[in-house]
Point group: C2
């Protein structure tokens, strides 16, 4: 046991690590009791502009350094918490920490999604831990349960709502009939979407998080580049109206499935049955449903972001590692990630589809559309003709299909667009049962 306490170093002092620093101070008694030894903040690596942050003013000025050298050379640091975000220099920093034989905790989804396998291998080599509970789902206990509590299971599927920004936007669109741009503006006003919201609304953030979950659940390296992703900007109030009429909710879902020979990983808007649990997850909440051979279906739900929940996850990782420092043993992690990724191409994925097509209002249009789909062996399960616009002589046709292959659907969509009677294929959305 270290009498002088377990040394903590922070990389960055933004919203997340600012809160981590506050918890280390405010809850030091509780944490010392859990660990069996105090957790002592030793050093904080900052950028010059960070020094004006309010949280910095609350803290001992001697803790801060803008020098990488000085931070990494501080010998009394046992555990480093990285929360600077982004791929670089976070990757290089974490690698340095681990190869120096120190434990690391990170909330950085991008660096774990892209470099997790390499960083975990580096940690294993040095018998230190690299924990990243905060990287997906904010404070929801998720990574530890997947890694430990479900260890006896073969995980077959994950269905997850893991981006709060898009879920907030879709919720406003659904409940208030807003269009996408108005809902996005609202999300920005509320602080739920960034000024440049691209990473969130295009599904990139969810893709990084899915790469982390799929790698962990399947013990295979799944990279963000392996994941087909589509965003929510093409969703319109029409789609929400039809969804409701047909008994569905609209969600941006991150999906990972494992079959005998391959893995299916994708992030895109879906229709899901309105009475399913995931359909009820509204606003900035996240939910992650995991299916295992023994446990069946389990679901984890909570706030997916924010300084407080994220600090809850980070501190739990710090406590886990601090206990190992106290025990004086190394961190044991025997996972081997299969590097053969065998990702199923998106073109081979099968789902049901919802299509919304703008056509001229004339007899025989539906027959022409049905023929195009039929030629591609895509069967229609139901069709609604709605919203006839008498002035412009146009109609809106909504189709639901039986399961079809993505490749066939993409070809059909092209052919439909070029039909004389079709003005536009306004949207297509995959349906998950």
């Amino acid at each position: 046991m270290k009498k002088q306490g377990i040394g903590i170093g922070l990389l960055g002092i933004g919203v997340v690590n600012g809160q981590v620093a506050r918890v280390l101070e405010d809850k030091k008694g509780l944490l010392a009791e859990s660990v069996g030894c105090p957790l002592v903040l030793r050093r904080v690596k900052v950028l010059p502009q960070d020094l004006s942050r309010p949280v910095v003013k609350e803290m001992d000025p001697g803790l801060f350094t803008t020098s990488e050298e000085e931070f990494f050379m501080t010998p009394e640091i046992d555990i480093v918490v990285e929360a600077i975000g982004g791929e670089h220099p976070a990757f290089e920093y974490l690698k340095k920490v681990l190869s120096a034989g120190k434990h690391a905790v990170t909330s950085n989804k991008e660096v774990i999604a892209k470099h997790g396998t390499e960083l975990i291998a580096e940690a294993q080599k040095n018998r230190v831990g690299l924990l990243y509970e905060a990287s997906v789902g904010g404070g929801i206990p998720l990574i530890a349960p997947l890694q430990n509590s479900l260890v006896a299971n073969r995980i077959s599927a994950i269905y997850a709502i893991i981006n709060g920004t898009t879920n907030y936007i879709l919720t406003r669109m659904s409940k208030e009939g807003m269009e996408f741009s108005a809902a996005l503006k609202k999300a920005q006003e509320m602080g739920y979407a960034e000024a440049n919201p691209r990473d969130d609304i295009e599904g990139i953030d969810a893709t990084n998080k899915l790469a982390i979950l799929a790698s962990l659940a399947f013990q295979r390296q799944v990279l963000p580049g392996d994941i087909h992703h589509e965003g929510i900007s093409r969703m319109s109030s029409h789609d929400f109206r039809y969804a409701r009429e047909l008994g569905f909710a609209v969600k941006l879902l991150a999906i990972a499935k494992q079959s005998e020979n391959s893995i299916e990983v994708r992030v895109h808007p879906v229709f899901i049955p309105e009475d399913s649990f995931l359909a009820k997850v509204d606003g900035v909440y996240n939910a992650i449903q995991v299916e295992g051979d023994l446990v069946g279906k389990v679901l984890f739900f909570g706030e997916g972001a924010g300084a407080y929940p994220t600090s809850s996850a980070i501190i739990s990782d710090v406590v886990t590692l601090a206990k190992i420092v106290v025990q004086g043993t190394g961190y044991e992690d025997r996972r081997k990630f299969n590097l053969d990724r065998s990702i199923k191409p998106m073109s081979e994925v099968e789902t049901r589809y919802y299509l919304r097509i703008s056509t001229v209002d004339r007899p025989g249009v539906l027959a022409q559309i049905a023929r195009v789909l039929g030629d591609r062996k895509i069967s229609i399960s139901s069709a609604i003709q709605k919203g006839t616009d008498i002035q412009n002589q146009t109609a809106e046709i909504v189709l639901m299909t039986y399961p079809a292959r993505e490749a066939a659907m993409q070809q059909a969509l092209q052919e439909l667009s070029s039909l004389g009677v079709v003005q536009e294929v306004s949207n297509f959305i995959r349906v998950e049962a």
Copy 2:
């Protein structure tokens, strides 16, 4: 590292441990990889009548013994899994295991609820682990997340649906308008309720589980006897009809709250808003909502019982302990349970109430009822008069109140019953917001 493997002993070979034995066999490769060493079943303590079970016939006959002596004297056992259920002799067995310096895993909610504090202290004294993930919520990761992932949080409240039998019955009553006795019969036919269903329908099973959760979350000893509990047998189809009309679902909820000075723990039927997450938990599913100061609201959902999910939880506990055996360190658990229970008496609990009262059908009845409540400082938030029975000249009055103290309500209920115009107070149900 033990070359000959980690020795496992099973106490009992019923539905749960039968499945545990199968998983140890079927997944031995996966488990050995996680632990770094094989898990080897060394001995199974059975009752003579167990020897005819099908799972026994699949296994090496040399593993079985009906002798306690022989089982406890087997030196190659490192971890014992107890799944015989009930208070005795499970308590004595677990105590014996722990005091002999062996780790223990149990799915037995009754023994943990009643003797957890003592058994954990015994385990701590011997630096061995006593894990009980399977005791609440079947395979849902819950105990480990509460103990580890939420370690930085002060838990303020738990709201839990933790009895599948009653939730199945309430779901049938809600969806199909069944009466209690018919729904219970259905549950028995489906194998979701036992021939003697008392422990489930009277809320005793949920009380044991809540004692475990509250003790863990608040680090205080909470015993089943501290928990006010009521069952679901008084629920009628009328209550479900009014609940729906008023925007509520009916659930048997286990509730634990922690305030500055005391703990509130109770199990009883409640009205909860129909758009809340817990309202959507149907059938034999369980869900446990936990509120912490940092993490906010998190919820865990899944199948709350069954051999497969339960074995998932047990094996994860076995793997956790097996890793510690491999490391050769003791199990470190620094928790201290506050023995000052300071349980808030039920009479001081405040909730809103739903009352259903059968009255004579005559002007001024509502005024008389309102006066009784008003005298006890209980305010009515809404009143419905329904179901006038012209032949018998009776009416049904349904009231919702503002928050009131239980003591005042109990007095009011007595006085209402003795009013001349009141035929019967047919039901009262607490409302949770």
